[in-house]
Amino acid sequence: MLYRRNPQLNKNGELVHLLSIEGLPASILRQLLDTAESFVSVNDREVKKVPLLRGRSVFNLFFENSTRTRTTFEIAAKRLSADVINLDIARSSASKGESLLDTIANLSAMAADIFVVRHGESGAPYLIAKHVAPHVHVINAGDGRHAHPTQGLLDMFTIRHYKKDFSNLTVAIVGDVLHSRVARSDIHGLTTLGAAEVRVVGPKTLVPSDLAQMGVRVCHNLKEGIRDCDVIITLRLQNERMSGALLPSAQEYSMSYGLSREVLQLAKPDAIVMHPGPINRGVEIDSAVVDGVQSVILPQVTFGIAVRMAVMSLVAGNDAN
């Protein structure tokens, strides 16, 4: 069989698109995290802007709404001096019947250099990456249930920032793992970077046991799942899951899987608590934990800008050919 190259890498093994953490070597993940490190300090400057992407155009294509992710991509692109064009596709061409590839072809004709794509369908960013010119780059900002690589990377950055090394870490991912692209990206990131143990914790309907194939330990009991953990990643309970008979009610979910201060005491005393946002306070996580000393939820948002700057500047410096 013909060996098929990872579509994210060029023939020199350099990153040209960021579509998924899955399949990226640890060296590339570390390069992204190291590069992000150098962008964190841009915040300390009087001029919070560097000219790396001056004269380039970043198109934010959000076929699905996401204010936070779109905003952090926009800030990241602007701090790199790129021109940023936000397209609310959900309300424009697509609704008039234009196909995805026609939309991309038209925007390419407007001299786009980077497409940041959020799409409800898994794989949409791959399709786009396959059809763009060699100097154009695609960054997946979340596709269906598949992947959310920049969130995964910013989670890895946050963990590395507070815990330094992955090799001794036990990480618990709590909540709706089944439908979560964040969880999937986190699991690939953690296993690639060599975390000692990754646990996924939640009810059987949201954390099926075949997830163990991804190299994680499946737990259906919260207390057992977070015992002696170094890192707890809580996932948002998506309201739309209530209607599908996957859960009885938010209250009941909270009773069994909500992260309270009492339960958090079972983790290591210096454990950090993360959440990709938006938070449902009192459902998957108690307010006292969100605002508590172990919470690093807001630093995650700040690091997200540096991580997205790193992704954009790295892919922009590599040609597909």
């Binding site: 001029v47 000219p51 790295l314």
Partner: protein, 180 residues
Amino acid sequence: MSTGSTADDTAAHAAEAVRDVPSLVQALARGVGALCRPGSRLVGIATGGAWLAERLQAELGLPGEHGVLSSAMHRDDFAQRGLSAREPTRLGFDVNGAHVIVIDDVLYTGRTIRAVVNELYDYGRPASVSLAVLIDRNGRELPIQADFAAARVELPVDKRVALRRDTAGVLSVVIDGLPA
């Protein structure tokens, strides 16, 4: 005499001039000492210049820690070479109103200096910026000169000269990757 041997002679002369690194560092220390005024700040360009700035800070008995400047964010060859993530910029002082002495190992095209001066200005408006280098070589592509150079050498254009530091912290000069 063939052109080749002239080039070799030039390289041999240059190698001779930069072989004794401890003496060059002493000369650089004296030169930087003369450029210093009360409140001057030493800032080395990552990575060779930062090694030298660290030495000079101690040698000249200056208080605090030396600064580090990275050219990565302002390089003009980003489109060709992509991002080089090395040691990031670290300035532990207020750049506004400061007298900054930029230290580098080799002054060549001048492009790195252009980049780091831009980088410095992202942190504030210094009162003055001067430049001291260990080795000033031919090949300038911008109107940039050093205020002090411990050695000035002529090299064939394709030869690369660089400072190296071994695990014991000993500095040496290499030309095209080989010891000078």
